[in-house]
């Protein structure tokens, strides 16, 4: 008797429970993302602002770790358990999702008109007809410095390469600070914050990048090898045991005030503002000679797309339209200084460090990371190889020329225009 009652109760709770979740799911949007650092900003600022305007739609932000995001997302999409809104990596990773039918076309979304073609370029089919993610933000590369450390060594902010190495030498000679905070353990910093940070000055930004895609330049050309030569010189300025120094180690080293210069992406700004209690500044990658035109990596980094199989398409579209509005751009850019809005509408930034970064858009020419568009479609993967080569060059295990040759051979093995 008792047994039966319990059984009935369990049954009832299962049925009711699933009914309740099914009901709630009608209006709940789940966002997949790799920005786990931003969890509190989404929960406290962005989502409440949206929910206040759109009663009846609840939004959940469910990030996973950056390095695992692509793998996790792919498996979730294949299993049909992914969220309604998908944070999009730029270029091929998202294009592949669109081609497989996991991302919906946003050609008919009104808000998509608020973006320039360049902003949309990272999330559009090769024929330019179907955008599939709303551009959210770009990140700019440069160097963040500890103003106290530069003052301590008596150097001013470097503007060309000779000045940069003079400053590093002075800091090293003084000995109070580690000249440069970067490690090679996690590999990607060496490529993203090293090679693709300083590189555009050598390969002249878009000009070199497009030439590489067309096949008129090679990775063995001086413009592509020279950045490795500079990286090789960085070795002497990194901290003891940089080989095992991880990305969080480098961040902590800098925010604890133990390092002077941090090769950075602008996404670091909000974290550094929270953790560092000294005055910080930023400079764009120093040019080879004073008077040279400067180039910056202003990388279209984050977009937001809609899961093609979502059950809440209307609610998701409402959210995406809101994401393309000026209100979101200003909210997002100021909540996350360092993620610069791509929307055509002007947005006022309050953070001084973020202002410094975005001011380079005025004086330098912008480009995106060299390996992201088209060139990482094959095997061996050029992006992964660039990580590996940048690390090998910094450690001194491989000469800049050998690294260039290895990358070129790998690229040419599958990429027709380079053959």
């Amino acid at each position: 008797m008792k047994h039966k009652t319990i059984k009935m109760m369990l049954m009832a709770s299962t049925v009711l429970g699933s009914a309740i979740t099914a009901y709630a799911a009608d209006a709940t949007l789940t966002i997949e993302s790799w920005r786990n650092d931003d969890l509190s900003i989404w929960q406290e600022k962005i989502i409440p602002a949206f929910e206040a305007k759109n009663p009846g739609i609840k939004v959940k932000f469910t990030p996973s770790a950056p390095a695992e995001y692509n793998a996790v997302l792919n498996s979730k999409l294949e299993a049909g358990s992914a969220g309604d809104l998908i944070t999009c990596r730029p270029f091929d990773a998202s294009l592949a999702l669109y081609d497989k039918g996991y991302l919906a076309s946003l050609a008919s979304l009104e808000g998509i008109g608020n973006f320039s073609d360049v902003a949309k370029s990272a999330w559009i089919t090769d024929d330019g007809k179907n955008p599939f993610c709303v551009p959210m933000a770009s990140v700019i590369h440069g160097f963040i410095y500890n103003a106290d450390a530069l003052a301590d060594a008596g150097v001013s902010v470097p503007t060309n390469e000779a000045e940069l190495f003079a400053a590093l030498d002075a800091i090293k000679a003084k000995g109070n600070y580690i000249p440069m905070a970067m490690g090679t353990n996690d590999q990607w910093e060496a490529a993203t914050m090293g090679y693709n940070n300083i590189g555009p000055n050598y390969w002249k930004g878009e000009e070199g990048r497009n030439a590489l895609i067309k096949g008129t330049q090679k990775l063995t050309d001086e413009a592509w090898v020279a950045p490795y030569r500079q990286l090789a010189k960085w070795k002497d300025y990194l901290g003891d045991g940089f080989e095992a120094q991880t990305y969080p180690d480098s961040q902590n080293l800098f925010t604890l005030g133990r390092a002077a210069i941090y090769p950075a992406g602008s996404w670091e700004i909000s974290g550094f503002n929270q953790n560092a209690d000294f005055k910080m500044g930023a400079f764009n990658p120093p040019v080879q000679k004073s008077g040279d035109e400067c180039y910056i990596s202003d990388h279209t980094d984050i977009g937001l797309g809609m899961n093609a199989n979502t059950k809440n398409a209307d609610a998701a579209k409402t959210f995406l339209n809101w994401v393309s509005s000026a209100e979101f751009a200003s909210l997002y850019a100021n909540a996350l200084p360092g993620f610069f809005p791509l929307s055509s509408e002007p947005v006022k930034l309050e953070d001084p460090l973020a202002q410094e970064f975005i001011s380079w858009r005025g004086k330098c020419k912008s480009t995106i990371r060299s390996t992201y568009q088209i060139l990482s479609r094959g095997t061996p993967n050029l992006e992964s190889d660039t990580w590996n080569a940048s690390v090998a060059v910094i450690k001194g295990n491989e000469s800049p020329e050998a690294a260039g040759k290895r990358l070129q051979d790998g690229l040419a093995s599958w990429y027709k225009p380079q053959q």
Binding site: A67, N70, A71, D186, N252, S376, N381, N388, A392, K395
Partner: protein, 308 residues
């Protein structure tokens, strides 16, 4: 008077008791295994799944880039296994021999504390050791400094020549409890009469261990070797949690598990390829199958067993 011979009744209870384990094992082990083997014979060409026979294996072993990664991973796996066999298992036997001596005090304490790392999650072990060995905030450089041996310290996990051995030793630290426990149990099961008889014949101490105990625990050591083999060739978790999916520095800690993970699920800008990933998984399966077969037919059958 003889009873008439009765046909024995079918013993249903045996089937009933075997069924759950059999069904679960089939559902979560055997079916996926054949699923993986099947997946490795296909390839995705323009969105459609096409049967290509052994082409994926041809790429894996024929294409110099793929085969280089594969052999690198296999060699690393072998080294990982060798370190375990040479360090973990002898230490395990030694600890078990020490624990089973009657004169040792606080036996339960040692036994427990040596076994505890085994039940820790790989993630905890990976991160804890990464912190301990960190050249910036780790305790290892300070401890070496305190005894004047700072010059011995290197950023081990970041150097190509040391990283794999360091990780293997971390894994040994974590799992030394398992051979210890198994050998300890085997040693305890040796009857006292045999040991007393040995003492009467004047065999005591070290020679008692070598001449009496060791031959009696050889079958256990064999089982431990095969467990180590299978465990090591399936290794993934520790390397992934300490070095990430790229198994740095410069793939020096890449084992078949991480290689398979990167290929199957993709990494950063590289998209996942389930078919090549399955081909690697199948190759892993064959390697392990060969190792286990060699043990079963070559060694297991020749081990002498003693009945007490």
């Amino acid at each position: 008077m003889e009873k008439p011979i009765q046909k024995p009744a079918i013993r249903w209870h045996i089937l009933v008791f075997i069924a759950p384990a059999f069904l679960i094992y089939t559902a979560i082990m055997i079916v996926p295994l054949f699923g993986t083997l099947q997946l490795s014979l296909y390839k995705e060409i323009e969105g459609a799944k096409v049967f290509v026979g052994l082409e994926n294996f041809n790429t894996l072993f024929g294409d110099p880039r793929w085969s280089e990664s594969f052999w690198n991973a296999l060699v690393n796996n072998t080294w990982f296994f060798v370190v375990h066999m040479l360090v973990q298992n002898p230490i395990g036997v030694l600890l078990a021999a020490l624990l089973s001596t009657n004169t040792l005090r606080m036996r339960a304490f040692y036994r427990t504390s040596i076994f505890i790392p085994t039940i820790l999650s790989f993630v905890i072990v990976g991160f804890a050791w990464k912190l301990i060995l960190s050249p910036l905030w780790g305790v290892a450089p300070n401890m070496l400094d305190a005894v004047g041996l700072k010059f011995l310290f290197a950023p081990w996990l970041g150097k190509e020549e040391y990283a794999l051995t360091t990780l293997a030793l971390v894994s040994v630290w974590q799992f030394v409890g398992i051979p210890m426990m198994l050998i300890y149990a085997a040693l305890l099961s040796i009857p006292d009469e045999i040991l007393e008889a040995a003492e009467c014949d004047g065999i005591t101490g070290m020679s008692q261990f070598w001449k009496i105990k060791l031959p009696l625990i050889l079958p256990s050591i064999g089982i431990i070797s095969i467990l180590t083999f299978v465990g090591n060739f399936n290794a993934f978790d520790l390397i992934y949690s300490a070095q990430g999916a790229l198994a740095g520095p410069n793939y020096s800690t890449d084992v078949l598990g991480t290689f398979m993970f990167r290929t199957f699920f993709g990494f950063q800008l590289q998209l996942g390829d389930p078919h090549m990933g399955s081909a690697i998984a199948s190759a892993m399966f064959v390697v392990i199958l060969c190792g286990v077969s060699i043990y079963l037919f070559g060694i297991q059958t020749r081990l002498r067993r003693y009945q007490f």
